[in-house]
Amino acid sequence: MELQWSYTISVIPTLLKGLKMTMLIAVLGILLGFAIGLLVGLARSGKNKIIYRIAGVYVAIIRGTPLMVQALYLYFAIPMMLDFELPALSAGIIAIGLNSGAYISEIVRGAIQSIDIGQHEAGECLGLSKFQIMTSIILPQALKIMLPSLCNQFIISVKDTSLLTVIGVAEMTHQATQAVSSTFRTVEIYTALALMYFILNTILSFLLSKLERRMK
């Protein structure tokens, strides 16, 4: 079969539609993941044994199973067991959130633990509450340390959204696969898809590294 590279160009509008969805899921997913990661990371840095264990189980489950399986489970298995419907988009965002949340919680924990204990003691000796010490002394410093890893996790999550094609979310990979099945232009279209991801992540990396530099 002869390759017709014009398909690589003509599929781009379709892919751009998917790109919007990809970015929507990635951004909302990472925001959810950050919220989860912060809470779980704090739980993993605190003294409460029970909360620590529960948080640990969550991290272990997420790290021990593939994202694709997590998405399938969230979209098909859990709604079936509990008898409710979850739209694919929501399932996708939650899957990315839960998944990145586990990794972010480790980033948060590491950053918090890297802050000198003297910072905590100084706050304590000034009569501040645990909450005040955390929010105005520890977290602002930890956040700076976390930033590069958080940016990295965001890029990973953007790429991870392609796995959500298995639950039928109309993100970029899904759009590409649909286009392939109607045109059979496998090489041309998947080439376009790969290029799109590559360009997207190159731009994101550039923007994020600029952000990092500004925060220094």
């Binding site: 000198d116 003297g118 910072q119 003691e121 100084a122 706050g123 304590e124 000796c125 000034l126 009569g127 501040l128 509450s129 005040q132 105005s136 002394i137 602002p140 410093q141 700076k144």
Partner: protein
């Protein structure tokens, strides 16, 4: 003589098997300056940290203004608001400017309006000779300047007692003097202070009372002129000979 503001009775502290403080007794009266000296590892820091409950004693009692702070249910934060601490490594907040370091706790604890607290912070900076550094970040200051900011930060809480844990040990020798000078001024203003120090000059000239610790015990204590001029204990003699 007035009542003691801080009183330590039969204080013992161990980290696991390691006994660090053994049956410590002492008291501090208002306006008194006490120096704690002794070799490395003798338990000086631990002693200081027990007083403001950064470490939990294994036994014994600590009384502050007549209240037993080592009892369950005592409000630790009240103690921390009234007993300030200055650390060997300053522990300034690196993400906050000098003035914000000083204002952070008073702001969070709502001790006054913002402008009022700023004014007060500027006065404290003047007191430690660093008005011009108000908007600097701590990382841009010398060690001596950082420690003076740390002292101003502690003073912003208007503490009744200040604890110093080797405040000049992390400093280059030429910067020690400026910090000691600030501490001496505080002492002259009547601040109640407990100072762990290797600066024998300060202990001798500024303090009212000297405690020599070794192996977790108070081996000798008394007026500085007695302890320095005529130590009674062999170990005190040996220690003084090694540092003087």
């Amino acid at each position: 003589m007035s009542e003691a503001i801080v009183k330590v009775e039969n204080l013992s502290k161990a980290f696991g098997e390691l006994e660090v403080l053994r049956d410590i007794n002492m008291e501090v009266k208002e306006g008194e300056v006490i120096s704690v000296i002794g070799p490395s590892g003798s338990g000086k820091s631990t002693f200081l940290r027990c007083i403001n409950l950064l470490e939990t004693p294994n036994s014994g009692t600590i009384t502050y203004e007549g209240n037993i702070v080592t009892e369950k249910g005592y409000d630790r934060r009240k103690l921390h608001r009234e007993i300030g601490m200055v650390f060997q490594r300053f522990n300034l907040f690196p993400h906050k400017s000098v003035i914000d370091n000083i204002m952070l706790a008073p702001r969070k604890l709502k001790l006054g309006a913002k402008e009022e607290l700023r004014e007060q912070a500027m006065e404290l900076l003047a007191k430690v000779g660093l008005e011009s550094k108000a908007d600097e970040m701590p990382g841009n200051l010398s060690g001596g300047q950082q420690q003076r900011v740390a002292i101003a930060r502690a003073l912003a809480m208007k503490p009744k007692v200040l604890l110093f844990d080797e405040p000049t040990s992390a400093l280059d020798p030429e910067l020690v003097g400026e910090v000691l000078k600030v501490m001496q001024n505080l002492a002259e203003d009547g601040m109640t202070m407990i100072v762990v120090t290797h600066e024998m000059g300060f202990a001798r000239e500024v303090s009212d009372h000297v405690i020599f610790m070794e192996g977790g015990y108070i081996v000798e204590e008394g007026k500085p002129k007695d302890v320095f001029a005529a130590p009674r204990n062999e170990r005190t003699k040996k220690f003084l000979a090694s540092v003087l």
